[in-house]
């Protein structure tokens, strides 16, 4: 299927970044949120991203205007009437997402695809909220979406091959790299990242070697662009702990992170955003 017009549902940072990526590929995009305030913030965020490109000489002000002319900010479902792909990026909560999927199922044309940017929830459960389970899939961007090239295209039990093919093509059209993934807790990237992070946390607990020495050894050996403790702080230790618990429940003790993560989160030290996590900031 050819994707002529798209929508991003939910205009938080992730939704705004996704809409920016789509607009930058010259594809019309409707940005829908229930809150006018959230839409204003998204507009300002997208303006910043464009301005950075102009300041670096990567885009002309005319180009920016052309891209912006392709973006529609709205709170109304009426603007979804001729959309052929909607990407949902609302908060990571099954009840909220299912309500959005039910609403989209009513508002979108019958053949439109509904994709979720979820990093953890079941695609099949989301698809069940609609009457078009064959046209529902995961379309998982990585943070920040305007820089990271990967998209995990995730199939639920009823997702059709045509839907997956369309989404892979669309990912390439917006200059991303698609990989096809069958639904499972953590999908590919987060599952592998958390497995290695849990192992390094256990190593640290056994040896009591300082976090910084461990991070340095891993980057010095060229194994990863940043060490697991820097990464955890950036991700948010509350988020990391939640993911570790979900994956431990799904796969077993190899995702058990050891006591440090739980202790830090318990003390309110959740990483970069709170000024302290494994490291202290400012």
């Amino acid at each position: 299927m050819y994707i002529k017009r798209t929508a991003v549902i939910g205009s938080g940072t992730m939704g705004a970044d996704i809409a920016y990526v789509i607009a930058n590929a010259g594809i019309p995009v409707v940005i829908k949120d229930v809150s006018e305030d959230a839409l204003e913030k998204a507009k300002a965020h997208i303006d910043d991203l464009f301005q950075t490109r102009v300041a670096r000489g990567r885009m002309s002000p005319e180009d920016v205007q052309n891209r912006k002319d392709n973006m529609t900010f709205t709170t109304s479902n009426a603007d979804l009437a001729d959309v052929s792909l909607a990407i949902e990026a609302v908060s990571e909560n099954m009840r909220v997402k299912r309500a959005v999927f039910r609403e989209l199922d009513q508002a979108l044309p019958p053949l439109a695809i509904i994709a979720s940017n979820t990093s953890a929830l079941s695609i099949t459960e989301l698809a069940d909220a609609t009457g078009r389970a064959d046209r529902v899939a995961g379309f998982h961007f990585f943070f920040p979406a305007h820089m990271m090239k990967l998209i995990e295209v995730i199939s639920g039990t009823s997702t059709s091959q045509e839907t997956l093919d369309t989404l892979r093509r669309f990912a390439e059209e917006i200059r991303k790299i698609p990989v096809s993934v069958k639904e499972c807790p953590g999908f590919v990237v987060n599952r592998v990242l958390m497995a290695s992070m849990a192992e390094v946390l256990r190593f640290q607990h056994e040896t009591q070697i300082p976090y910084q020495e461990i991070d340095q050894a891993i980057t010095k050996a060229g194994l990863a662009p940043m060490g697991p403790f820097v990464l955890g702080d950036a991700l948010g230790l509350d988020v990391a702990l939640e993911v570790a618990r979900t994956l431990t429940a799904a796969y077993g003790d190899r995702f058990q992170p050891g006591p440090q993560l739980e202790a830090l989160v318990g003390e309110g030290h959740v990483g970069l955003k709170s000024g302290r996590g494994f490291y202290t900031y400012r």
Binding site: V181, V189, R191, V192, V200, L223, R254
Partner: protein
């Protein structure tokens, strides 16, 4: 951290990364090629985990895992797909095939 500890850290990190990637492959969640692409493009790893193992040599990786399995625990048990490949002489880059295939 002394040299031996550092080597051990690097091995545990690399093998935990490799093992989870192999599980995804064995569960048919994604292809070997796409698992490597995902970890490079989505996590910034300089080398895909399956390619890493193929370059190290799957016979060597099997030895590494057997030793960690004995000293650290069950989570480092060598996966079936690794034993199979080593038994068939598919040792990675040096034999032209491992988890991925290589032009000779």
């Amino acid at each position: 951290m002394d040299e031996a500890q550092e080597q051990r850290l690097i091995l545990r990190f690399s093998l935990a990364t490799f093992l989870e990637s192999v599980r995804l492959f064995e569960e048919d969640i994604a292809s070997a090629e796409e698992i490597d692409i995902a970890m490079r493009a989505g996590a910034g790893l300089p080398k895909g985990p399956l390619r890493w193992a193929d370059e190290r040599g799957l016979d060597q990786v099997l030895q590494d895992l057997e030793s960690l399995h004995a000293s650290v625990g069950e989570r480092f048990a060598p996966p079936a797909s690794l034993r199979d490949r080593v038994a068939r002489g598919q040792l990675g880059v040096k034999s032209g095939i491992g988890y991925l295939t290589y032009a000779q």
